[in-house]
């Protein structure tokens, strides 16, 4: 996409994420040709949609469709096949093959309920994976309430015949899917962080105490400045990860985005004070969303620990992106 295309696409996405969510947003994304954009310009399609989705607090099936796109299966377009996401906090495939049985425990956006089948990736040992087409009717789709009911997540559970339609995935395919998923959730976390910062700055400018806006107090200003630094840090890591794509850079970017979103959330919550603690103000939605997104594909803390352990084991730091 050239700059004009990207600009037009962004305006379209801003419009639809601002006024729709869930199934309605999925329909709008089909209309906008998001899947085609994904094939055409992966970075723009992912960073724009997920950033705006995070900012609007909207939800869609895009993450599962993105996984399908990343797996690169012949005959499975992202448009019509949703890949089941890993269970919360982990990056391992949701499927386990046990003889002829395929056991499934993962997560999915709500849109899976409208699909005839789902793609379940299972590990077959030694890092190899296989993708199984499973009829949705054979799976239990249990709505997740949890901390963020608006997200409409489904827990996907199953114990099904594993001898059906299966395609062995090339080495690294699942890791590539996780990497892309990490970048997408990273952008969504940045979008949510930006939204929280906007809410907190608006409040600080409007809320009068001691005859002046609380934005004039240095303690308040510094918290908001810290929140902007947090957002900028996450954005820089994500941009760098797109220039140097791979599981390590994507996981680092996701970890930073999660950690910094929680930092931004803490500072913004303090500035919003009482009103931000009520359900009369939209802030709590972003706190909830941030917590779940930080846990998808591994919490920021667990990803950092994993990185530290691999540095110690290998005796060297991750590769540097050249100037």
């Amino acid at each position: 996409m050239d700059a004009d295309d990207i600009d037009m696409f962004e305006r379209g996405l801003r419009d639809v994420t601002g006024r729709t969510t869930g199934a309605a947003l999925d329909a709008e994304l089909d209309e906008l040709g998001w899947d085609d954009a994904l094939d055409d310009d992966e970075q723009s399609a992912v960073s724009l949609l997920f950033g705006l989705q995070g900012r609007a607090g909207a939800t869609s099936s895009a993450l599962s469709r993105l996984m399908t796109h990343a797996l690169g299966l012949p005959g499975s377009s992202a448009e019509d096949v949703m890949t089941v996401l890993p269970a919360i906090g982990v990056t391992t495939p949701p499927g386990t093959l046990d003889g002829d049985r395929l056991r499934v425990d993962g997560l999915s956006p709500a849109g899976l309920a409208d699909q005839a089948s789902a793609l379940v990736v299972a590990s077959v040992g030694h890092g190899a994976t296989t993708a199984c087409r499973v009829a949705t009717a054979d799976l239990e789709l249990r709505p997740v309430v949890g901390v963020d009911p608006d997200l409409g997540l489904l827990r996907v559970i199953g114990d099904v015949d594993g001898t059906g339609r299966r395609v062995d995935l090339p080495t690294g395919a699942w890791d590539a899917g996780i990497a892309l998923g990490c970048l997408a959730t990273g952008h969504e976390l940045v979008g949510a962080s930006r939204a929280m910062l906007d809410l907190a700055c608006d409040h600080a400018r409007e809320r009068i105490q001691f005859d002046r806006p609380i934005a004039s107090f240095q303690a308040v200003r510094h918290r908001l400045a810290e929140a902007l630094v947090a957002v900028a840090m996450a954005e820089a890591m994500l941009d760098a990860a797109w220039l140097d794509p791979g599981p390590v850079s994507a996981a680092m970017a996701k970890s930073v985005a999660g950690h910094q979103a929680r930092t931004a959330s803490r500072h913004c919550q303090q500035v919003l004070a009482g009103i931000g603690f009520t359900v009369e103000h939209p802030f709590h939605r972003y706190v909830r969303r941030t917590l779940v997104l930080d846990s998808l594909f591994g919490t920021s803390a667990s990803l950092a620990t994993r990185l530290g352990n691999s540095i110690i084991d290998e005796g060297r730091l991750p590769p540097l992106l050249p100037l």
């Binding site: 910062l197 700055c201 600080a204 400045a225 820089a236 990185l307 540095i311 110690i312 050249p322």
Partner: protein, 383 residues
Amino acid sequence: MNDRGAVGELDRFRRSLDDWLDAEATALAPTFVGAGDLDQQMTQLGKVKQLCFDAGWMRAGWPERVGGLGGTTLARAYLGEALTARDLVEPGLYSMTEVLAPTMIDYADPDLAAAMVPALLRGDETWCQGFSEPNTGSNLAALACRAERSESGWRVTGQKVWTSLAQYADRCVLLTRTGSVESAHRGITALFVDMDSPGITVRPIGTMHGSPEFSELFLDDVVVPYSRTLGEEGGGWAVAMDLLPYERSTSLWHRAAFLHRRLTELVDAAPPGALDPSRLGEVTQLLYAFRARSRATQHRMADGDRLGPETSIDKVLLATAEQAVFDLVADALAPEVTVGDDPVSARWRSEYLYSRAASIYGGSAEIQRNIIARRLLDLGHDR
């Protein structure tokens, strides 16, 4: 992000510079082990700059009218990165060039800039930056060092402090008060002063990390020719505001290379079990995030963007990353930092102590956050 041309140019520069640095490794190497003292570091800096200038590397990315070879400014960023990553220069001392040369190029009379800047690039001269005063730290607009007009030129009387490398310096970019005290930022004029002028006294200040890298500077009726005025009379604030983003751009990229080298050395040097994996992972991520931000700033600068208040974010990230790296050092290499008396331990200790200043120098963490709140978040005035 960047046009293909600049990136290709940088790739060629990178390859040929790396080859040259390998070939000249012996000639470039320091003659001391560990950090060395400040005199040794300055001698080493002069040697490296001269070799790099004469071979053309130090001229890349600078305008031809000041002795440069033109081309992308990314070459300057990479040169400092490569020299720092090989431990050939102390990055803080090296980066003074990146702060002061752009100011001269933008504000000095073109003939003066053409005459002076090559000596700085080649390491024949050291320059310093006379901004802060005893009563003017964060509140720069309150500076009091007085410059009066006379027949022989400006006559300057006052005092500066925290002037890095003043005891080595041949020239000084000096901010003076030419308007009334009430004129605040409007009555400031920048001058380019010869440090051997009669009336200048320099007193180095002992520091916690053991390297007296900054000084007090006393000026007693020092005569400065009018031709040495940088920018307009009363336009010193603009000079300072344009200089400060340079303190937070290329020099920070060089500092990222330094921190990466030290973190790598820490991973090598830490005894088994001494590094907490969670903290190591977090610190690595902080450092890489700071570096990613600084990299983007370098590319914006190379694309011709004007740097401004957004570089305050880069400075906050540097301070955070540097202190996190050396906090990890202090824990994982506690015996070296606390009771080690060999040169390498002394260097870890000195650098740990210096890292405490990262949130103080070049605009404190609080000043950077004030700038972010006012200029980037549009939160209005703070009183």
